[in-house]
């Protein structure tokens, strides 16, 4: 039973006009994350233009993003495997919003890409490009299962980051 519902709703104007007072706080939230062994090596691989995965000999899975342990077998996994820089689109979206909810004129196309050489279903998040600039164009060019390939930054500009791959584009 809902009785005597409480709460006072404010409008944008209440704040803009100074009708309610506000305080502002700009946090200084910087972090220096330790990548660790697996991601450290993965980033080094990106700098060298390679996508690296880890293989577990017990379950036979080849995993990307790599980890030093197999979360299903719960053991240290066994070896580094150089994967291809091609793959298939698991899913994709045509995004018109930025992180701050502002709108983009030209959309981004984020996608989960299953990497060739890794076990089925092993994907990474990245962006697609050269696939059109509207929902209609993108939907005509990309489907679940579309084959794609990485487009790398020039070797001299790579810095050991996931952004060393500029984007993926359709193979055909």
């Amino acid at each position: 039973m809902i009785s005597e519902l409480r709460g006072t709703s404010l409008r944008e104007e209440d704040i803009g006009s100074g009708n309610v007072l506000t305080t502002e706080w700009r946090p200084k939230l910087d972090f220096a994350f330790d990548p660790g062994v697996a991601i450290g090596q993965f980033l080094q691989g990106l700098k060298e233009g390679k996508l690296l995965g880890r293989r577990c000999h017990q379950c036979g899975r080849t995993m990307i993003p790599p980890r030093m342990f197999c979360e299903l077998c719960f053991r240290r996994n066994d070896e580094w495997v150089e994967l291809k820089d091609t793959g298939r689109v698991n899913t994709f979206s045509v995004s018109y919003v930025n992180w701050d909810a502002s709108r983009r004129e030209k959309p981004q196309v984020p996608a989960v890409i299953e990497i060739d050489g890794a076990s089925p279903g092993m994907g990474i998040l990245h962006l697609l490009s050269e696939v059109g600039e509207s929902v209609k164009e993108v939907m005509a060019r990309v489907k679940v299962g579309t084959a794609v390939q990485a487009v790398w930054k020039p070797a001299a500009q790579r810095e050991g980051s996931i952004t060393d791959i500029l984007y993926f584009r359709p193979l055909s």
Binding site: L29, D34, G36, R67
Partner: protein
């Protein structure tokens, strides 16, 4: 508690000022492998997982999403408690006592070294409207509390400084400690003032590390290898962190939690019934404040008893024989898991050269650090 609950496995990493060679996932994996080996379980045996976490310390929003893999707990009932290690232990004990679980895993870790501006994170725990606009370093809260505690209890800053000397000396005998040292109480008193009477060496320095414990009901013991350490009593209490309405002198949360935990455990005289205590010492004065709230010293006598050596390793009731947070490093909410680990090692007789003779029963006391007034007390024993 309806059925006996015990810690049956403990895993941990060394505590270090920095750990650039490992991600937190890899650190937790190492601790988990040791804990499961100690208990004699595989991840298949785990019914539920309780992890500790606060987003702004992890640098990740909704940080609980990164819990399961490194514990072998993918697709298991996993939850995060944004609270202290002993609150996590309390949750684990409750899950076991519902009858729905037999084996629960408790995880806590610190990657404090990854936080570039720790004071800015701590400041975000202060009231955004009334306190933060002053722009003060949040350590002022500890300065205010220390002053009032010394005033009400009659303990002195010099006595608090001796807590530092004791704990860092104790840490010399703890191989996992990050900050073992010979420090004199004069050195503490001569260190830089931060928020008078609080000085730089009064504060536990942050460290990185991970702990994983396996907690089980008695009915599961027969399929386990680990020597059980029984949880006889546990309670956690929160007082307000509102700086305008809180008390400053006494650790009331500790007093209330201790009353409940002692009642559960059948402890009638704590200083007689307990063989050791791991007591929060995030700041040196907190150890004295907590000792008095725990009833391990009469009010106002904590400092004098400390000077007389009552709480030394080898004293009447060793307090922080592990080195405490001052000697081992402060691990945020995982700090009390370092205390829990010490209790397990002492009660199993595995504490090496710092082993307390005839350790049969001990306690762990925690505090969630500034600006909170939340803490817990756990009483543990061996058979």
């Amino acid at each position: 508690m309806t059925e006996k609950v015990a810690v049956v496995g403990a895993g941990f990493t060394s505590l270090r000022a920095m750990s650039p060679d490992m991600s937190f996932r890899e650190m937790v994996f190492d601790a988990a492998v040791r804990a499961y080996e100690d208990a004699g379980i595989t991840p298949r045996d785990i019914d539920s997982v309780v992890a500790l976490g606060e987003d702004f310390r992890e640098g990740t929003c909704i940080s609980d999403e990164y819990v399961p893999d490194q514990l072998g707990a993918v697709q298991k009932p996993v939850q995060t408690v944004s609270g202290d290690g002993l609150q996590g232990l309390g949750v684990a004990a409750m899950l076991l006592n519902t009858g729905a679980c037999e084996i629960v895993v408790l995880e806590g870790h610190s990657k404090a070294s990854n936080i570039r501006h720790p004071a800015h994170v701590e400041a975000m725990a202060l009231d955004p409207g009334f306190v933060r606009p002053h722009g003060w370093h949040p350590v002022f809260v500890a300065g205010l509390e220390m002053r009032r505690f010394l005033h009400e209890s009659g303990n002195t800053a010099a006595q608090a400084a001796r807590v530092v000397a004791k704990n860092r000396r104790n840490a010399l005998r703890n191989p996992i400690a990050a900050y073992p040292a010979k420090v004199s109480f004069e050195q503490v008193l001569e260190s830089r003032p931060l928020a008078e009477p609080l000085r730089e060496l009064d504060c536990a320095a942050p460290a990185d590390g991970a702990f994983v414990f396996v907690i089980a009901r008695e009915s599961a013991f027969k399929r386990l290898r680990g020597q059980p350490v029984f949880l006889d009593g546990i309670s956690w209490i929160s007082d307000t962190c509102n700086l305008f309405t809180r008390g400053w002198g006494e650790a009331s949360y500790t007093r209330q939690a201790a009353e409940r935990a002692y009642a559960m455990a059948g402890v009638s005289s704590p200083s007689r019934d307990l063989n050791f205590a791991e007591v929060d010492d995030s700041f040196a004065y907190k150890e004295l404040q907590h000792i008095e709230a725990l009833g391990l010293a009469p009010k106002g006598q904590g400092g004098t008893m400390l000077e007389q050596g009552a709480f030394d390793a080898g004293g009447k009731l060793p307090v922080n024989v592990s080195g405490g947070s001052l000697g081992c490093g402060h691990l945020h909410d995982a700090s009390s898991l370092r205390g829990l680990l010490e209790a397990v090692l002492q009660l199993r007789g595995h504490a090496g050269e710092r082993q307390v003779a005839n350790a049969r029963r001990g306690l762990v006391c925690s505090w969630r650090s500034i600006p909170t007034a939340t803490g817990a007390v756990a009483v543990l024993s061996r058979r």
